[in-house]
């Protein structure tokens, strides 16, 4: 768009009144807000902060934390290795090796032989979740992601599926029936990367 585009709307900053130019009314209004918060914390127990880690923070349901790979009714990874998440990912942190599904999965054509996310490179934008046609990848509410080395922060398929096992009750899948409880991550074919 060019500067002389007729569709551009020019907006002037509002003119300041005499009181505005003294700034004192604004200072008073700011102090009032601060004061309300201080008094609210002292007398009404309205603090926004929590005593972490003794007290755990519960993020909003749309919080975007560590990824998980969902499992289907039979405990297999739901992912069909379409690589749309890897395509959508702006940080290029998803690496998938697709393969023809094993004979024992007659309803499936393709599955991820390896599925690796570099959690350090990830910017937690949620584009992968958005792109996935089968709701296989989701960002969970887990926010306390720590590790002792860079390698540890590169999550492979087994690890991502185990995040599902950890979070399945707290955050049920939105669209499909989850596998019966107790199906371990073993149903997934062993990942060559670990």
């Amino acid at each position: 768009m060019r500067l002389d585009d007729p569709k551009l709307k020019k907006i002037e900053p509002p003119k300041l009144s005499l009181a505005d130019r003294f700034y004192l009314p604004q200072v008073a209004a700011g102090l009032k807000v601060t004061g309300e918060h201080i008094l609210g914390v002292i007398f009404k127990d309205q603090a926004f902060t929590v005593q972490y880690p003794e007290e755990q923070h519960v993020p909003s349901p749309v919080y975007r934390g560590v990824h998980r790979l969902n499992k289907d009714e039979e405990g297999r990874p739901k992912c069909v290795a379409c690589m749309l998440c890897a395509t959508a990912c702006p940080a290029h942190c998803i690496d998938i090796v697709g393969a023809t599904a094993p004979e024992s999965w007659p309803d499936r054509e393709k599955y991820p032989e390896s599925f690796v996310i570099d959690e350090l490179r990830c910017i937690y934008c949620g584009m992968c979740e958005e792109a996935c046609p089968v709701e296989a990848i989701e960002l969970t509410g887990l926010y306390d992601l720590t590790g002792l080395s860079r390698e540890e922060m590169i999550f492979d398929k087994t690890k991502l599926l185990s995040v599902f096992d950890v979070t399945r009750d707290a955050e049920p899948m939105k669209f499909t029936t989850p596998p019966p409880a107790g199906t371990g991550p073993t149903q997934a074919l062993e990942s060559p990367v670990s």
Partner: protein, 580 residues
């Protein structure tokens, strides 16, 4: 002049060509969607996608009469006074209807379908289809099956365009494929007891299939096509020089597809080319770096500059000792490499003997010569059938290397003659530039060469019997890693770009010779070719180092301007890929 009216505008019709409405409209930038039509197959007009409004203009009165019904564009000749309307509501409604019908039984599993991203159904669904699906009955489910050990058919994705069937009937004349059953139960199948295994051109049916029904098992489920970078190259598998597109991602070649060149391979490649990349780029037996013999007779890894200094010194020492310096230029070198190598050795000593390496032959030439009648089932008026030959000569550039040697040395020394010289103990230093796809020298010959020649340099991609014995081993680039031009059987000079960067530890031959020659700057094949073209009359056709899209015949005049190469609409880059 003959003119045609397309969507209200008048355009001249190119002379000397028989075009149908689809081709003519494409020339002027109007896209008529199609599936079953292919320029080399007879017209059957069974997909009905290309139907447009057709009429004619009376040359005397100027009155335009339209036909009451839509007509397939693939069957409509572009002739004087033809009127085409491709964007009316009637045509759009027709396209929408065809798309809905084609998708009735379609599984819509694009996420797991290898064709996604270059699929005719996908593209036309966006352009002409509708978002909702009204068909509520159960869909016919066709099982997956193999039509050969390398090709899988997902019959539920098939749209019954019969391009594959027509290919096997009309081009290879082998007719392995057929349409089984009728109506909505129709299915592509091989005849009982027959597979596509014995058809060396079978892989082309995968390229022809506009949807993801016929799939290459070698590529199956491995990559998404939009990740692949395509590089224009020329096949090094035989003397034909088929034009190919080498498709790579993450430093690895994933598949090879044909590129249209009406003078060489038309639209096809053989399976040797298609799967040959594996043998040629298998990292296990590629020479991993530069090596030189140390005092104990062991090969030790040597930095490139030191290795090249050793080469230079070894050759020059031989000259000082009054011995003959000889070079073997394999027919796998590009024209530019051969030229620089010849120049270098002639610079070391003008008496250097330059020989062409052995030219491998395997089997016999095999030609498929489709004509306008054999196996054809539909309208053949627009066809211009071209033969396709698999050559027994399994080297891409024997003619190019010979031409270079003729220019530099005045004559070509044959490999056998050089071997005789070696046996007689006349040769003191030998520089061998290989690059063969398969082993080219046997153990006995290699031992003999080693015994008789004081200083042996082997520049190669694969470990050969001679490399084990050489004083210096130089790791050169495979055909996928180097850029340069080749001369095919018809003396056509064609340019092949590099598809991959040189692997670690190696350098393309061009760079090796450039360093040996002390040529400043990076060696660009175009510049070297321009140099050669300016000096050697045989290469005059490549003046300026620029080779046209379809190549140029050495010794013939300047090539005529030609219509661009044909690419099926769904393979043509779209959107962001266009600018890449």
């Amino acid at each position: 002049m003959a003119t045609i009216i397309i969507n209200g505008e008048e355009y001249p019709i190119p002379e000397g060509e028989k075009l149908n409405a689809i081709q003519m409209a494409k020339r002027v930038g109007v896209e008529i969607p199609y599936y079953c039509w292919h320029p080399s197959l007879s017209v059957v007009a069974n997909c009905r996608m290309c139907e447009v409004e057709v009429g004619s203009k009376d040359p005397k009165t100027g009155e335009i009469k339209m036909m009451p019904k839509l007509v397939p564009g693939c069957q409509t000749p572009a002739k004087d006074g033809t009127v085409l309307v491709t964007d009316s509501d009637k045509v759009k409604e027709h396209h929408r209807m065809i798309m809905e019908l084609l998708l009735i039984n379609h599984p819509l599993d694009c996420p797991v379908c290898d064709q996604a991203g270059e699929c005719g159904l996908q593209d036309y669904s966006y352009q002409h289809g509708q978002a909702n699906h009204r068909f509520v009955e159960e869909r016919t489910v066709n099982p997956r099956k193999d039509v050969s050990s390398l090709i899988q058919l997902n019959a539920d994705r098939c749209i019954m365009c019969t391009r594959c069937v027509r290919f096997t009937r009309e081009i290879t004349g082998t007719a392995e494929l057929q349409v089984m059953r009728r109506g909505s139960h129709a299915e592509i199948a091989t005849f009982p007891g027959v597979t596509l295994d014995d058809n060396p051109l079978a892989g082309n049916v995968v390229d022809l299939c506009p949807v993801g029904a016929l799939l290459d098992k070698d590529f199956l489920h491995k990559q998404r096509v939009w990740f692949l970078s395509k590089h224009d190259s020329v096949c090094a598998g035989c003397a034909g020089g088929c034009n190919i597109s080498v498709e790579e991602n993450k430093g690895k070649i994933w598949r090879v597809k044909p590129r249209h060149n009406p003078h060489v391979n038309d639209y096809w490649i053989c399976d040797g080319t298609r799967y040959g990349y594996k043998a040629e780029s298998a990292p296990d037996d590629l020479i991993p770096g530069m090596f030189a013999l140390d005092k104990d007779g062991e090969h030790v890894a040597t930095p490139i500059d030191q290795a090249l200094r050793k080469v230079d010194r070894g050759l020059k020492d031989a000259v000082v000792d009054g011995k003959v310096v000889a070079g073997i230029l394999s027919p796998f070198l590009t024209v530019e490499e051969a030229y620089l190598m010849a120049r270098y050795l002639k610079e070391v000593t003008n008496a250097a003997v330059l020989a062409i390496g052995p030219v491998p032959f395997k089997g016999e030439d095999r030609t498929y010569a489709p004509d306008k009648t054999k196996g054809r089932s539909g309208d053949t008026t627009f066809l211009d059938p071209k033969p396709f030959t698999l050559y027994a000569e399994k080297a891409p550039n024997a003619r190019g290397v010979r031409a270079v040697l003729e220019h530099v040395q005045g004559s070509v020394v044959e490999y056998d003659d050089l071997l005789k010289k070696v046996e007689a103990g006349e040769v003191g230093a030998l520089y061998v530039a290989g690059g063969y796809i398969e082993g080219w020298i046997d153990e006995a010959t290699a031992a003999k060469v080693r015994e008789k020649v004081g200083f042996v340099v082997v520049q190669d991609t694969k470990v050969s019997a001679l490399a084990h014995k050489a004083d210096v081993v130089l790791a050169a680039a495979t055909y996928a890693e180097k850029a340069g031009s080749y001369v095919n059987v018809d003396n056509r000079l064609q340019y092949a770009g590099a598809s991959l960067p040189p692997r670690d530890g190696s350098l393309p031959g061009l760079d090796l010779f450039a360093i040996l020659l002390d040529r400043p700057g990076p060696a660009r094949s175009g510049e070297v070719l321009a140099e050669l073209a300016a000096k050697a009359p045989a290469f005059a056709a490549a003046a300026g180092g620029v080779i046209p899209e379809f190549g140029v015949v050495l010794g013939a005049g300047a090539p005529k301007a030609e219509p661009p190469a044909f690419v099926d609409a769904w393979f043509a880059p779209m959107g962001a890929a266009k600018s890449r």
